[in-house]
Structure formats: structure tokens, C-alpha cells
């Protein structure tokens, strides 16, 4: 049992060995510039989708890396004794969080965002401090509901932003609207309008052809017609493809902001030197 406790203690005291690190961690040959990072903190195994969405968009726009930190405060070790059951729960928590993290990582890679998942137990402030120590240059923290700023700032001072549930709800409602009934209604509506337009023109083919081919100023007729058709039928086909689930993935635009980012400058840092 003693060795078991020791193992757990090691885990807590040595976060560098436990958590995965970013590509430019300490062991790899040192790079001159450490990329800036956003830390997303949550208390569950997985982080809220809307909070993650927000953070990813932000990271993409700013060209930052993203670290997701799942902390479970209840499974932290208080005294010297640590129950095997709690140990089992810890393993389970970490396993699930990592599985979600792996999937997220793949998705982030598609959008060009470096992503790392870290799992910690115990005090939130300590966990954030440990992550900050390990990864360096965390610019700010985004938390989800249920995480207080005080908890995060227990050990170090770092700006903390919170995404409330309200925004998430609004976001989801909007998505439902554009994909659900609204989309179907638009597709059908524009479809009927386009069909009506075609029917009207082909019903009276003789009259239409008589006037449309008269030439000179009557040239405006066919031109105006195709403009109207291109609007109505164009809108219909746009909604039709969307309704069929064929639409551009969100990553379409190459990020011009990333290219225009000012060159990272080396900040002079105070260094300890021996005066010789």
C-alpha cells in the first residue's frame, strides 16, 4: 500500500512527467520562440462545446495555441492516505478526458490550431500554476460555468474570462434555426417561387418568345428575366444543397490575420549574472 501511495504522490508532485506537452516542450531542442497560448479550464471530463468553440475561434484568429485543462478537485489527495477506489476514479476520469482530447486535437489540427489536453486533480489554482509553469506564455484563461476566478488565480495572477451558459444557449438556438425548420421553409418557398416563375414563362411561350426576340430595347426583357431567375432559383439551389447537408466546412477562409501577425520579438528578460 505504501508504494501505491508513493506512486500517487509522485503523480501529483511531478506534473511534467504526467501530462503531455506541446511540440516545443523542454526535451525537444530548444526553440527561440515559445508560442502564446490560451488555457481553457473546466471541472468536468470534457469541456463545454460552446466554450471550446469560442476558444478555438479565438485561438485561430489570434494564431495562439490552445490548452484544455480538466481538473477534478474532489479527487485531489488531502492527507497521506489515498483510497484505491479514488485511484480508480482518477484513472477513469483521465482516460475519458484524454479520449475527448485526442478527438479534439484532430479537429483542431484541421483548423491549424495546436492543441493539448491536460488532466489534473486537486486544487484548481495549483493545477493552473503547474500548467503555466510547464507550458509557459499562457496569455489568459477561459473558464466555463462553475469555475470561479478566485480559484484559478489562487497561485498566480493571470487574466480570466468566463463564458456563460447564456451565450452558448443563444448560439445553439441560432444553429437550430438555420438548419431546422427555417431552412426547410426557405428551400420549399424559393422552390415554389422558382417553379412558378418557370411555369409562367413556359405557359406563355409564344407571347414570351414574340416579345423577347424583338431586339433593340426589348433586349431588356431576357436580361431582366435571367437576373430574376438567377436570384430566385439561385437562392433555391443554395438552400437545397444546405438542406441536403452539402455546405462548405467552416475552415474555408485562409486566415489572413495569421499572416499579418507582427513578428514575435524576443522580450528582454532580467537575467541573473555573476559580475566578473
Amino acid at each position: 500500500m505504501l508504494s501505491f501511495i508513493k506512486k500517487v504522490q509522485e503523480k501529483e508532485t511531478g506534473p511534467e512527467q504526467e501530462s503531455p506537452r506541446l511540440g516545443n516542450g523542454r526535451e525537444s531542442p530548444p526553440k527561440p520562440e515559445v508560442s502564446r497560448k490560451i488555457l481553457v479550464v473546466g471541472k468536468g471530463e470534457t469541456l463545454d462545446a460552446e466554450v471550446m468553440d469560442y476558444a478555438v475561434n479565438l485561438a485561430e484568429r489570434l494564431g495562439y495555441d490552445l490548452i484544455a485543462l480538466s481538473v477534478n478537485p474532489t479527487l485531489g489527495q488531502k492527507g497521506r492516505f489515498f483510497s484505491p477506489y479514488k485511484y480508480h476514479l482518477r484513472e477513469k476520469f483521465a482516460q475519458r478526458a484524454r479520449a475527448a482530447g485526442e478527438a479534439l486535437k484532430k479537429k483542431m489540427a484541421l483548423r491549424g490550431v495546436n492543441f493539448e489536453q491536460v488532466v489534473k486533480f486537486g486544487d484548481l489554482g495549483k493545477a493552473v500554476a503547474a500548467v503555466n509553469q510547464q507550458f509557459k506564455r499562457i496569455e489568459f484563461v477561459i473558464t466555463q460555468d462553475g469555475v470561479k476566478e478566485k480559484e484559478v488565480n489562487g497561485e498566480i495572477n493571470i487574466p480570466v474570462f468566463r463564458i456563460t451558459g447564456y451565450q452558448g444557449e443563444r448560439m445553439m438556438a441560432k444553429e437550430l434555426d438555420s438548419r431546422g425548420i427555417g431552412l426547410m421553409g426557405k428551400t420549399v418557398g424559393y422552390g415554389i417561387a422558382a417553379a412558378g416563375l418557370y411555369a409562367a414563362l413556359f405557359w406563355n411561350t409564344d407571347t414570351v418568345m414574340h416579345y423577347f426576340t424583338k431586339g433593340s430595347w426589348y433586349a431588356a426583357l431576357p436580361i431582366a428575366t435571367v437576373f430574376v431567375v438567377s436570384f430566385v432559383h439561385g437562392a433555391f439551389s443554395n438552400y437545397l444543397w444546405e438542406a441536403l447537408g452539402i455546405q462548405a466546412p467552416k475552415r474555408v477562409q485562409p486566415r489572413p490575420t495569421a499572416a499579418k501577425r507582427p513578428v514575435d520579438r524576443k522580450r528582454p528578460r532580467p537575467q541573473l549574472r555573476i559580475d566578473t
Binding site: 414570351v208 436580361i223 462548405a248
Partner: protein
């Protein structure tokens, strides 16, 4: 001007087959042009003529469907941030001049060598330009796909961008800073080719990529702006003469507006060099098709002798190969979209599975 119309124009009766043919070709043509910026016209115009539509009406009706299609495609791709409007408008303006010069050359050849000579000129331009440009586009796409799909700006474009010949222009979306004097000739050549073989994009898009240094994505999207401006101008001219058969236009448009949007969506799924692959493939196959038509005109000019049955066989083969060119282009687009979409769905499914834990 108006008095030409009544005697020259014979509008055909529509049958179900005609409608189906125009709709399907319209859709596939739209798909291809939404993806590579141009295409479809080279099948539609001869296709309509083979249905008995007089040449002028076929050209006019095709042009009248081309500009709204280009408009819808350009708008869609503008929303994806791929269209450089400034570049498109400058190219279109110089293309307008190119069209006029192209028509003048055509008329001069027509006067000197008659219709067969003019047709021969058109076919030979097709073959020469498509083989050279299409071959290069295809070679470049093949090279890119071998080196891992990373597109590089040609050294020619980089060299031209360094030359400071005022007025210098900055094209933001294309991310190109280049003298106006290098932009205009590309537009001019686009217009001349459009007047000759009806598909200016076969010069315009490669020109923007290899000479100006725009990416395949931006070049093909910007081509739609050029197609809109040129198609609109051409349509006004033809409509004033009363040549537009609005029924044909609308049927083609019904298919092509569906297609052009699908093609535009397709560009956001696939790797960038796919645009070049599709374009190069189509250009090379069309070149073969037009090459088969050359003996007919040579015979009409009395340069070679050949049996009539062989000639008609060659012409049929030429048209079928042309359709195949468009079909293969469409298949590559749909195939690569399908593959990309499946990969994305799989990634999303994995994510959803992991999320369902909590």
C-alpha cells in the same frame, strides 16, 4: 440592326429529350465552372447546334445563361473569401478589348479563307493553346500533388512582381502586388481566346496563376467575375439583335445554377491543386476532341482528301469526346468532394462518440 433577326432566326421546338439534355449538360457545365471558373460552353454551344439550333442563337443563348451562372458562382465564392474583385474587373476590362480584337481577326480570316478557314483557325487555336497550356497546368498539378499538395508561386510571377513599372497595383485577396501592365495582357488574351473558342477561362485562370502569381483557388473564383462581365456585355449585344432563345437559356440555367453552387462548395472541400488537375484534364481531352475536327476543315479547304463517312465519324467522335471531357471533370470534382466529405464526417463522428461519454 433589328432587321436581321426575323429572317436569320429559326427557333426550334422543344422535346423532352432536348430539355433533359440541356438540363443535364447545364448542371455538369455549371459544376465544372463553379469549380474551375469556366467550362460548359464548349459542350453547350455545339450541343445546341446539333439539336438544330442556329449557330448565332446557340451562342447567344449560351452566353445569356453564362453571366447569371457566373454571378451566382462568384457571389458564393466571394462569401468564401476567394474572389479578388479588383483583379477580376481589371481583367474583364482588358478582356473586353481582347474580344473586339479577336472578332476582328475572325472576320479577317473569314473574308480571306471563308467559313472552312475560319473553322480551321478556331480548331487549330483550340488544339495548340489547350495542349500547351493544359499540358503545363496538368504537369504542375501532378508535381504539386507529388510534393504533398503545397502550391508554389512560379518564378516567373515572382520576377514580374519585382519589376516596378507604375502604376503598381495591390490585389488584396490574391495577395499580389504587381504592375498593371502585366495584368492587362492576361485579360486581353482571355478576351481574345473567348472570342475565338468561347472559353476564355482556359487562358485567364492559368494566366492569373502562373504569370500573376495568384493561387488556383483565387484565380478560378476571380475568373467567374470576368465571365460575368464579359457574358453580360455579350448578352446585351446578342439580345439587341433578338437572338437569345430564352427557353433554352432558362432550361440550361435551371441545371447550371444547381451545378455552379455545388462546384463552388466543392472548392472548399478539396485540396487546392485539384482545381488544376480538373482544369488540365479537361483542357487536354478537349484538345483531342478539337484535333479530330481538323481533317474536316482541311478537306473543305482542299488541302487533304478524305471520305465523307470518315469525316462524319470523326466529327461524331469529336463531340462525344468533348462530352466525355466535361463528364470526367465533373466526376473528378464529385469524387474528390465525396472523399473529403467522408473524411470530415468520420472525424466528426469520432468526436461525437467521445463526447457522449459525459
Amino acid at each position: 440592326m433589328t432587321d436581321i433577326a426575323p429572317e436569320a432566326v429559326k427557333f426550334i421546338d422543344l422535346s423532352l429529350t432536348t430539355i433533359a439534355f440541356l438540363f443535364i449538360v447545364g448542371f455538369i457545365g455549371g459544376l465544372v465552372s463553379g469549380f474551375i471558373g469556366s467550362g460548359g460552353a464548349f459542350v453547350l454551344t455545339p450541343g445546341m447546334m446539333s439539336l438544330g439550333v442556329p449557330g448565332a442563337v446557340a451562342v447567344a443563348s449560351n452566353m445569356c445563361h453564362k453571366f447569371p451562372k457566373a454571378l451566382v458562382g462568384a457571389y458564393k465564392r466571394y462569401k468564401y473569401g476567394q474572389v479578388d474583385i479588383k483583379l477580376g474587373l481589371i481583367m474583364a476590362a482588358s478582356a473586353g478589348v481582347g474580344v473586339q480584337v479577336g472578332i476582328m481577326i475572325q472576320e479577317w480570316i473569314l473574308k480571306k479563307w471563308g467559313e472552312a478557314g475560319s473553322n480551321l483557325y478556331v480548331s487549330l487555336s483550340f488544339v495548340v493553346i489547350l495542349v500547351i497550356v493544359g499540358g503545363y497546368v496538368f504537369y504542375d498539378a501532378w508535381k504539386t500533388s507529388k510534393s504533398g499538395g503545397e502550391e508554389k508561386v512560379t518564378s516567373l510571377a515572382l520576377w514580374l512582381q519585382k519589376i516596378n513599372l507604375p502604376p503598381m497595383m495591390h490585389f488584396k485577396t490574391a495577395n499580389v502586388y504587381i504592375s498593371m501592365w502585366f495584368t492587362i495582357p492576361i485579360g486581353f488574351a482571355t478576351g481574345m481566346l473567348a472570342a475565338t473558342i468561347a472559353v476564355g477561362g482556359f487562358i485567364g485562370v492559368p494566366g492569373m496563376i502562373y504569370v500573376l502569381g495568384a493561387s488556383g483557388l483565387v484565380a478560378s473564383a476571380t475568373e467567374l467575375v470576368i465571365a460575368f462581365v464579359m457574358g453580360f456585355g455579350g448578352t446585351v449585344k446578342w439580345a439587341i439583335n433578338g437572338m437569345v432563345d430564352i427557353r433554352l437559356t432558362l432550361i440550361i440555367l435551371a441545371g447550371s445554377l444547381l451545378g455552379v453552387q455545388l462546384g463552388a462548395i466543392g472548392t472548399t472541400y478539396v485540396k487546392e491543386h485539384m482545381i488544376k488537375i480538373v482544369m488540365g484534364t479537361i483542357m487536354l481531352i478537349v484538345a483531342v476532341s478539337r484535333g479530330l475536327a481538323v481533317p474536316k476543315y482541311l478537306k473543305q479547304l482542299g488541302v487533304i482528301s478524305m471520305e465523307e463517312s470518315t469525316i462524319s465519324l470523326l466529327m461524331a467522335a469529336s463531340f462525344i469526346i468533348m462530352c466525355i471531357a466535361l463528364g470526367i471533370g465533373a466526376l473528378i470534382i464529385l469524387g474528390s468532394m465525396w472523399k473529403a466529405k467522408r473524411a470530415e464526417t468520420a472525424a466528426e463522428a469520432a468526436l461525437a462518440l467521445d463526447k457522449s461519454y459525459s
